[in-house]
């Protein structure tokens, strides 16, 4: 197993280097001059020269790449031209929003998807099965942005003044103060890694309000999170439901399941204990892969529901040619994607000995 883990980690290394190169190249290929994009009419030749020297843009491209690699290794992702602040600081602020949204969507998709798939397989060829699979097929074909807008219309307007009314945008109600963990726990920390970690967690309002037992904030954030999470989670939900059904049906037709039935075990025990355990292997893979597509879909969901996450800042940065932000955020997302895939691979090997022994 150790050999398998080290092999997989070694295989991920060149991909990470490739990602570093692609993010660097992409940012340099953006059309237009960053100085002129930033400063507009104020950008004289003299000011632009100073600007290029300050941000190292006057150096040869290979030197710039070398400096970039060294900085990344030190955890320095550069300074945003537009905000005048370190990119890592912006990541600490924005990434939690996207991570929280993606995780909420994934939890929703996994819980409902597995249950729907399980039910569908258990009642194979019944009306429930057909209806579930028709809905799953429709779900996987729906554009995230359309579903988001339709949900907002339904729950904010059509169901207005009913108990089912939900807010159509934002993370919290206007005027609601969300204290940070440091404030809630009265910690007086100096800027540093611990402070950054706590700030990161504080920006995940759902999680931090649960940690600090701030129930009014939790309930408010939860209500705001429902529509974006459902919109973002519907496609993975449909994929997980379909995969659970087909995987479970495959497993249930195997000999050992027949043996379990022949032993006189109850049907729920056969399906849940004997069938589901082996059916989980492809489902785990799909869930891991879904997280990557969720990060992409989050851009659209954040736009529709007015959430200040990674998607929004990345989109704005691309428009403003803010190299450092484009580089930093794309790098973080791609690296996270590689790590998630690596984790899924390892989990897969853990669940199925044939993978690590093959």
């Amino acid at each position: 197993m150790l050999r398998f883990i080290s092999q997989r980690i070694l295989a991920a290394a060149p991909v990470l280097l490739g990602i570093l190169f692609v993010t660097f190249a992409l940012a340099r290929l953006l059309p237009g001059d960053p100085c002129r994009a930033m400063l507009g009419e104020k950008a004289t030749a003299q000011i632009c020269d100073a600007f290029n020297v300050r941000y190292g843009l006057n150096k040869p491209i290979t030197t710039q790449f070398g400096i970039y690699l060294k900085d990344v290794a030190r955890g320095d992702l550069g300074q945003s031209f537009r905000y005048g602040r370190p990119v890592t600081q912006l990541i600490v602020e924005r990434l939690p929003v996207t991570v929280e949204l993606s995780l909420a969507a994934l939890i929703f998709a996994t819980a409902v998807g597995i249950l729907a798939g399980l039910w569908s397989a258990y009642r194979r060829n019944s009306i429930v099965d057909v209806a579930t699979m028709v809905i799953a097929n429709i779900g996987v074909s729906m554009p995230v942005f359309w579903l988001g807008l339709m949900l907002a219309y339904l729950f904010a307007l059509t169901l207005k003044d009913t108990p089912f009314q939900l807010p159509p945008s934002g993370r919290n109600s206007p005027g609601l103060i969300v204290p940070t963990i440091q404030e809630a726990w009265r910690l007086d920390l100096q800027p540093g890694p611990l402070n950054s970690v706590l700030s990161f967690i504080s920006n995940m309002h759902l999680f931090s309000s649960l940690l600090t037992l701030n129930l009014p904030v939790f309930w408010d954030t939860f209500r705001h999170m429902i529509l974006p999470a459902v919109a973002l989670g519907t496609i993975p939900l449909s994929i997980i439901a379909r995969m659970t059904r087909s995987s479970l049906l495959d497993v249930l037709s195997l000999d050992y399941v027949r043996t379990a039935r022949a032993k006189g075990l109850s049907e729920p025990r056969v399906v849940l204990r004997h069938g589901m355990r082996n059916a989980l292997i492809p489902i785990v893979t799909i869930i891991g892969l879904s997280l990557g597509s969720l990060l992409g879909g989050a851009v659209l969901t954040e736009t529709i529901f007015n959430l200040a996450g990674v998607g929004r800042i990345l989109f704005d940065a691309i428009q403003a040619r803010d190299y450092a932000i484009v580089q930093g955020f794309t790098l973080i997302i791609a690296a996270a994607y590689v790590v998630i895939n690596l984790f899924v691979d390892l989990l897969y090997a853990f669940l199925d000995p044939r993978v690590r022994l093959g």
């Binding site: 060149p14 991909v15 490739g18 990602i19 190169f21 692609v22 992409l26 290929l29 953006l30 059309p31 097929n137 429709i138 996987v140 074909s141 729906m142 554009p143 995230v144 942005f145 359309w146 579903l147 807008l149 339709m150 907002a152 219309y153 904010a156 307007l157 990557g292 597509s293 990060l295 992409g296 879909g297 851009v299 659209l300 736009t303 529709i304 990345l314 989109f315 691309i318 428009q319 484009v326 794309t330 997302i333 791609a334 994607y337 590689v338 895939n341």
Partner: protein, 313 residues
């Protein structure tokens, strides 16, 4: 010889005389019996029909503002005479948009753009991806390593984010959006083709080709590639669905089709802030995208079941 023996031999003779069915005929028979494929093909045929006949069935030109020509206002609700809309009001089945254009005509024309997007991007991605995958699988060694690591790097980015970044580099517009979606789709086809080539190149008839000295590229193009088509067709059909969704997303964000082109994603993006006041302008283009994507998904699933003998019931 008894009567039963005679009947049995006649039946056996009949079976022997019947020409054997080709794999394609087998697949077609299986496809016709797959419910999801039939539904998918029917919806797709309907969409293609709409796209082809749009100039005939659309009551108005898609980009023509009706202001001054008819007594209509912008963002008017749908008016269908059969459903009780007063006869003195002009009929607009899906209402009018923010520029006082007939929305039904625009939705009909949108089918042309979406289908074109799907087929073009996937065609582009298959040509490049299949070539790279076939070379990687066939040559092995360092070309395989380089090509597949490159594909891994492309796969390491969420597709939509990478497409957004590429469009930003290339500039906004439908053609660049198509190119971006095509580029991010390449790895999927490269992987599928490589996997098939790796299997097929060990088959006896390929080894026989090698033994008699057939040139390698000829073996690849004549003997191996035709056997990799099945998974490519399935992947391509499902890929069209994803391409249509991604193109609509890019247009929705203002990076793909530009106004006044009637494209479902950009129509939705242009009116998204009106969802509470004129929901029909958001509902219909989204429904059209969903139906088109659904048709390819159903057809792709059906094709997979029909073309893979192991999945046939």
């Amino acid at each position: 010889m008894t009567v039963t023996d005679t009947a049995a031999s006649t039946v056996a003779q009949g079976i022997a005389d019947r020409p054997p069915r080709s794999p394609a005929q087998d697949a077609w028979r299986a496809l016709r019996h797959t419910r999801s494929a039939i539904v998918g093909a029917t919806i797709l045929a309907f969409m293609i029909l709409i796209a082809v006949t749009a100039p005939i069935i659309a009551p108005y030109p898609p980009n023509q503002p009706l202001i001054g020509k008819e007594d209509v206002k912008k963002r008017e609700a749908p008016c269908i005479h059969l459903l009780g809309c007063p006869a003195d009001r002009p009929q607009h089945i899906m209402g009018t948009d923010g520029n006082v254009r007939d929305f039904f005509s625009r939705v009909l024309y949108g089918a042309r753009v979406s289908l074109m997007v799907g087929f073009t991007t996937v065609g582009f991605a298959i040509i490049i991806g299949a070539t790279l995958g076939a070379l990687a699988g066939f040559l092995g060694g360092w070309p395989d390593n380089i090509i597949m690591r490159l594909m891994d790097v492309l796969l390491a980015f969420p597709a939509l984010l990478l497409a957004i970044a590429i469009v930003t580099v290339l500039g906004e517009g439908l053609i660049n959006a198509l190119l971006a979606i095509g580029i991010v789709s390449i790895p999927a086809y490269a992987r599928v083709t490589r996997a098939s080539v790796l299997t097929v190149k060990e088959w006896d008839f390929v080894l026989a080709d090698r033994a008699v000295g057939v040139p390698p590229m000829r073996i690849l193009s004549r003997s191996i590639l035709p056997h990799t088509l099945t998974p490519l067709i399935v992947q391509g059909t499902l890929g069209i669905a994803t391409a249509i969704l991604d193109a609509a997303a890019l247009s929705f964000l203002g990076l793909g089709a530009q106004p006044p082109m009637a494209e479902w994603g950009s129509m939705l993006g242009a009116e998204r802030n009106q969802v509470f006041t004129a929901p029909h302008l958001v509902f219909f283009p989204g429904l059209a995208i969903m139906l088109t994507v659904l048709s390819f998904n159903l057809l792709g699933d059906g094709l997979r079941d029909a073309l893979d003998p192991r999945l046939r019931r």
